[in-house]
């Protein structure tokens, strides 16, 4: 009897899919390719979602109304990443932040850069730094990162509740 342990087998399996994002996300991606952030408003609770998925998860009803959002946003939360991630071209330390764009009620995750890491804080005002328009695709990578702007901080209770017209002196 052989005592050679079988420690693994090779079983390559390829599953191919034709992925579709969904009607609402497809609309979002089309507008994003044109350099615009859009959300959808719930007809029940009036919350605006980005990226929209076609439903208000709080009310469970379909969202139809499209809302054009600002590319200015507020830092809702953030973390400083010190660990290099394999395959990620970004050099640590870098900042990943939860950002709520003006006019929306929900945050998305993006990079925060062109800033002093130690001075980043919740409530800080930031704005998108877009790639050159010739490089725009169906991707949030159209925005390279967000960077701080000279506007007063948003109190925590107000984060995620700003109109699309913005906040404070710069609004």
């Amino acid at each position: 009897m052989s005592d050679d342990a079988v420690t693994g087998i090779e079983a390559p399996i390829y599953l191919q899919y034709q992925f579709t994002a969904g009607r609402a996300p497809a609309r979002f991606l089309q507008r994003l390719k044109a350099g615009q952030l859009t959300g959808q408003r719930c007809p029940g609770c009036s919350q605006v979602y980005i990226p929209p998925r076609g439903a208000c998860p709080a009310c469970g009803i379909a969202t139809e109304e499209e809302v054009v959002l600002s590319d200015k946003a507020t830092v809702q939360s953030f973390t400083i990443v010190y660990i290099p991630i394999p395959g990620n071209p970004i050099e640590p330390p870098y900042i990943v932040a939860n950002l709520v764009p003006d006019g929306a009620n929900i945050s998305f995750i993006h990079l925060l850069s062109d800033c002093v890491n130690d001075e980043v804080h919740i409530g800080q005002r930031v704005r998108a730094v877009w790639k050159d328009a010739s490089e725009w695709d169906y991707s949030m990578d159209n925005i390279q990162y967000f960077k701080p702007i000279d506007e007063p901080d948003v109190p925590v209770a107000q984060i995620g509740k700003l109109p699309v017209s913005g906040w404070g002196a710069g609004a």
Binding site: A11, L15, A21, G22, A55, C59, G60
Partner: protein, 352 residues
């Protein structure tokens, strides 16, 4: 034991492709339909929610979590999921109600199978060491099963074609069906084989869509004041994953589940069987001991449209619908999972 009532059911059209729609966009319309049938606002108005789906079908990890966006889960609801057909979500919901942890439940199943190659995707439910690496697809496995039956003399190709002809004819009365029409056994037998001995029409089509159901205690159903059917028995049994250990010409698990669910305790007016291949309907009819007096798959069954992860729940829903519409007094619904009818669920429904 608390009696269970089916109160509402809806299924979307079986579509060859749902196009751009995502899972939430597939689920929401069928949920709206069942909420409206009972007069409910959203999932806040039931005690428990359980869904059935499989992320491998659309190739999106945690797609079932995204489906929760369709529910209205703020404030938080009690919710569960089975990576199976929603008939098993129904089973879980019934246990929940019988244990007294809920008086009502919403069940839904959904799948967008069209983005992938479904028979290959389903090969990944086989045992991971010997069969899954071979990519043995579901159609080939069903063909092996049909060949065994034909060579044993247990069925003829004409028997299989007769199942298909009846499915297509019955589906003419089902607006949700994907395949319907008047076609003769001779015409079907004249077609080429696809994966021998199966012809294309012996295999269910690939469909996108969703189905939903609301169940409750009989007391809650009466408070809602809506017509309902009672689920008087439900059971499920599973056979070995090793196809060589099974008698593929029989369905022992279906027979045992039927005995436990009490199928033989009364006349069976209608039976909706989840038979993805024509010869499997014959295996199931025999295992359930269905006779001439039972209308089998009056909806056309899944040969007319197969919503993976929802078709089993739909079988229960189709029997429910016929009972509340007065077409039947007592019926049997069957759901299956796995290759060659590996895992089977049987439910008995009766008029209130």
């Amino acid at each position: 034991m608390r009696d269970i009532a089916v109160v509402a059911y809806h299924q979307s059209d079986c579509l060859a492709s749902a196009g751009a729609s995502n899972e939430v966009e597939l689920i929401m319309p069928v949920l709206r339909q069942v909420f409206d049938q009972v007069g409910l606002h959203n999932a806040q108005d039931v005690d428990f929610v359980c869904s059935g789906s499989c992320d491998y079908l659309q190739g999106a990890a945690f797609a079932f979590v995204a489906g929760v966006d369709a529910l209205g889960a703020v404030p938080p609801i009690r919710e569960s999921h089975v990576e199976m057909d929603a008939a098993w979500a129904l089973y879980e919901s019934i246990l929940k109600i019988r244990m007294g942890h809920a008086d009502s439940a919403l069940i839904y199943g959904f799948a967008k199978s069209s983005p992938g190659e479904l028979p290959i995707v389903l090969s990944q439910q086989l045992d991971p060491y010997y069969l899954a690496p071979l990519w043995v697809d579901t159609v080939s496995l069903a063909a092996l099963q049909a060949r065994l039956m034909l060579d044993k003399g247990a069925i003829t190709e004409a028997d299989m074609a007769a199942v298909v002809a009846r499915s297509r004819r019955n589906a003419l009365g089902n607006p949700r069906a994907q395949l319907a029409g008047e076609v003769s056994v001779e015409e079907l037998l004249a077609e080429e084989t696809y994966v021998s001995p199966l012809r294309r029409h012996d295999c269910c089509p690939v469909s996108d869509g969703a189905a939903a159901m609301i169940i409750a205690t009989v007391e809650q159903a009466e408070r809602w004041g809506k017509p309902y059917a009672r689920i008087t028995g439900i059971d499920h049994r599973i056979e070995s994953h090793n196809l060589g250990l099974r008698d593929l010409c029989d369905s022992v698990s279906t027979r045992r589940a039927a005995a436990a669910a009490g199928v033989a305790d009364g006349a069976v007016d209608v039976a909706e069987l989840y038979a993805p291949f024509s010869h499997q309907e014959i295996i199931l009819s025999r295992a359930l001991a269905l006779g001439e007096s039972t209308a089998i798959n009056p909806s056309g069954g899944v040969l007319a449209g197969n919503l993976m992860m929802a078709s089993g729940l739909s079988r229960v829903g189709e029997v429910f619908r016929r009972i509340v519409e007065g077409e039947a007094g007592r019926g049997v619904a069957h759901a299956t999972s796995g290759p060659c009818l590996q895992h089977n669920l049987v439910a008995v429904l009766e008029a209130a």
